[in-house]
């Protein structure tokens, strides 16, 4: 007998204005499958500010408030305070922001919300650049990537800086739960979200969200790319619960070139540059395994 591995009920409608093959659409779909409809979401400027569609269209079956680009953290604190005052209970307050809105312009208010231990889940869907404005580099763009503001060109000036480690930044705020999730592993994704929902305080979910136009990738490979990110250890799946690290998927340990070659944003890299990414990924993976407390 066939079996569905994730909850059947949908909390999103078709007809969102996300691009074909959009990873962020899946991040929202899985998130709501994990949370259910007693949820309220705050969304700042990002792809998802336009993806519900033009007024009066809405692809979400939960209430949604918009916030200024840099203010998601403050917005979820305001929502939680008001709902508490009104005695509205058993509601999951969610901040749902892109990588620029999280690690760059929104970092201050996220830090404030985390320090206040606002009882909410903050989800960063990480498409690794400012995609809604047309693929400009963000603090979350990985080293080596092409974007419109790291245009490669004659000077080979791809993104020269490392991606910010937002998981470590959140860990430094001593929040009770942080996790990485992948659209290629919805079962793990939904399990982590459901876990976060049951924990009080600030929870942080880092979702890698492939962006076909921004990553110069064929939209049909969104899942494949996300899967390779895990299997190459570019984006390991783990969670940190009260400071304890659990790697939730070991991955196959494939060469990073398998992941990079499906994306035109890395096409300019020389073999030496690819191998420097390989070394960095291996070093990070070793550090993570050392911290791993899952006993496997």
């Amino acid at each position: 007998m066939p079996k569905m591995t994730i909850p059947e009920e949908e909390h999103t409608y078709p007809g969102s204005t996300g691009c074909p093959g959009c990873g962020a659409n899946l991040v929202m779909r899985y998130l709501l499958k994990g949370l259910g409809e007693r949820t309220i979401i705050s969304i700042p400027a990002c792809c998802w500010a336009v993806m519900p569609g033009y007024w009066p269209s809405n692809c979400l079956k939960v209430p949604l408030v918009y916030s200024a680009f840099e203010a998601t953290g403050a917005s979820i604190s305001g929502l939680r305070a008001a709902l508490d005052m009104k005695g509205v209970e058993d509601v999951t307050v969610v901040g749902f922001a892109g990588d620029g809105g999280t690690v760059d312009i929104g970092l201050q208010s996220l830090s404030g919300a985390a320090e206040r231990q606002t009882d909410a889940i903050y989800v960063m869907y990480d498409n690794e650049a400012y995609m809604n404005t047309g693929i400009q580099r963000s603090g979350s763009t990985p080293w080596g990537a092409w974007t419109t503001t790291t245009p490669v060109g004659k000077n080979h000036d791809f993104k020269q800086e490392q991606k910010k480690d937002i998981m470590a930044i959140m860990q430094a705020h001593r929040v009770p739960y942080t996790a990485t999730v992948s659209v290629a592993h919805p079962e793990d994704f939904i399990k982590k979200v459901a876990k976060a929902k049951a924990i009080k305080g600030m929870k942080f979910i880092h979702a890698l969200s492939p962006c076909p136009p921004g990553w110069k990738a064929n939209p049909m490979y969104t899942i494949e790319i996300a899967r390779l990110a895990v299997d190459t250890h570019v984006f390991p799946l783990y969670e940190i619960e009260n400071g304890k690290v659990h790697v939730t998927r070991k991955g196959k340990g494939l060469p990073v070139s398998d992941y990079l070659k499906l994306q035109g944003r890395f096409a300019h890299l020389t073999p030496a540059e690819v191998s420097s990414i390989q070394s960095a990924v291996e070093a990070n993976w070793a550090i993570l395994l050392e911290k791993d407390d899952s006993g496997t």
Binding site: R38, L60, V62, P63, Y66, S77, K86, R116
Partner: protein, 395 residues
């Protein structure tokens, strides 16, 4: 009950008596004692509210916005750089039609660094879609805070308001203030229950994306609301007087203007000083008056047009300056009376920036000067008052 308190405590008690439910605030001189007092009232349980210590004024307003969207009465207080940091989200609050009330302790912008009275911060927010009340006494600060909620939460208004008190001159100066009874305020100001709010279990996007073919209609509605605020301000003040016995003269308080030949327009604490000056000049037989600009948004067009038809000269005192133009009050008043059949002579006086004292002597000289200006118009109609290096002496 009469108590002696600062403008800042008057603000805090105004918010407390209005039963603000969510307060999000960030400290800035000279606003701090407002939020300190509110934190204390929340911690002692005298005020049932959530107090969010945010990490910036931008976040203070953003938190108030989200709290207001789900139906909470919200309050914050700020000053100068804090208010200008909020600028983006001030527009957000009015666009989302949220009746948030804040206190702005009006203070100069840096550089040069200055923590003293100046209206630049408030004036710079005139286009944000907020009602703006300039107060002249601590009592007015308290009363206006309560009235502001009632005005803003009206169905046909639903816009935010800023209650403005001058840095230190009101914020840190103690005056006797009559503290209304909580029960009286409760019956004057019912609890906040907006028709439109986001509720759990009800799918809805609040404030979403519209195309160019629909944007203007939303803005038009907000414009109508700001217009409607005018009548609402007058009505709420009338009701307030019936219950509490105090009134403040509507949008433009005319003080001894009836038979005046020249009037001074001023806002904030200076206007209180100016009343004394008017009295003393009246005793000397001069036909002078004061038009206290109490509400800058919505702008009191009708009041100014009525005033223009009665007087020969209007001196406009701006405690801020719009570089390349003149004071903001001045240009707006001038624009307002442009097509009046009778247009008085008008001159702009820029004074009191960065907390420079605007003394009774200076105000007397302004009255002297405008009377001369009416007779023989000078070339310049914008004059900076009491600036070292300029020829005219004001002391």
């Amino acid at each position: 009950m009469r108590q002696v308190m600062t403008g800042n405590y008057a603000s805090a008690y105004g918010a407390k008596l209005s039963r603000a439910e969510v307060i999000a605030a960030y400290p800035i001189t000279p606003q701090t004692s407002i939020v300190e007092k509110l934190a204390e009232l929340v911690s002692t349980g005298e005020l049932k509210a959530k107090f969010i210590s945010v990490e910036s004024e931008h976040s203070a307003m953003a938190a108030c916005i989200s709290a207001s969207i789900v139906g909470a009465r919200t309050y914050t207080a700020t000053s100068s750089h804090g208010l200008t940091l909020m600028h983006e989200v001030l527009m957000w609050a009015s666009g989302a039609r949220l009746p948030i009330v804040i206190t702005n302790v009006s203070r100069a912008m840096a550089p040069p660094w200055s923590v003293w009275a100046d209206h630049m911060d408030s004036i710079a927010q005139r286009d944000t879609g907020w009602l703006q009340f300039f107060c002249s006494s601590n009592q007015e600060v308290l009363d206006t805070t309560i009235m502001a909620y009632k005005i803003c939460e009206s169905r046909n208004v639903m816009l935010p308001a800023m209650v403005i008190e001058d840095a230190f001159i009101l914020s840190h100066t103690s005056e006797p203030v009559d503290m209304p009874e909580q029960e009286a305020v409760d019956s004057f100001l019912p609890s906040f229950s907006p028709e439109l709010k986001v509720e759990i279990g009800k799918p809805m996007g609040f404030g979403s994306l519209v195309k160019p073919d629909q944007y203007m209609e939303f803005r038009y509605k907000a414009m109508l609301a700001m217009k409607a605020a005018r009548e609402r301000i007058l009505r709420v003040e009338k009701e307030f007087k019936q219950v509490f016995g105090r009134e403040y003269g509507g949008l433009l308080e005319n003080y001894r203007c009836d038979d005046a030949e020249v009037v001074l327009v001023a806002a904030g604490s200076t206007a209180a000083t100016a009343k004394d000056v008017v009295d003393s000049l009246r005793e000397k037989g001069q036909k002078v008056g004061l038009a206290r600009l109490r509400v800058f948004r919505p702008f009191p067009h009708e009041e100014f047009r009525a005033l223009a038809s009665k007087v020969a000269g209007i001196a406009v005192l701006d405690r801020s300056y719009t570089f390349g133009v003149s004071g903001a009050f001045f240009t707006e008043i001038k624009g307002s009376i442009y097509d009046c059949p009778k247009r008085p002579a008008m001159k702009n006086y820029i004074a009191g920036l960065g907390g420079r004292d605007i003394t009774p002597k200076i105000l007397e000289k302004i009255f002297d000067d405008i009377q001369l200006f009416v007779k023989r118009r000078e070339e310049t109609d914008v004059e900076w008052v009491d600036v070292a290096g300029l020829p005219r002496r004001w002391h």
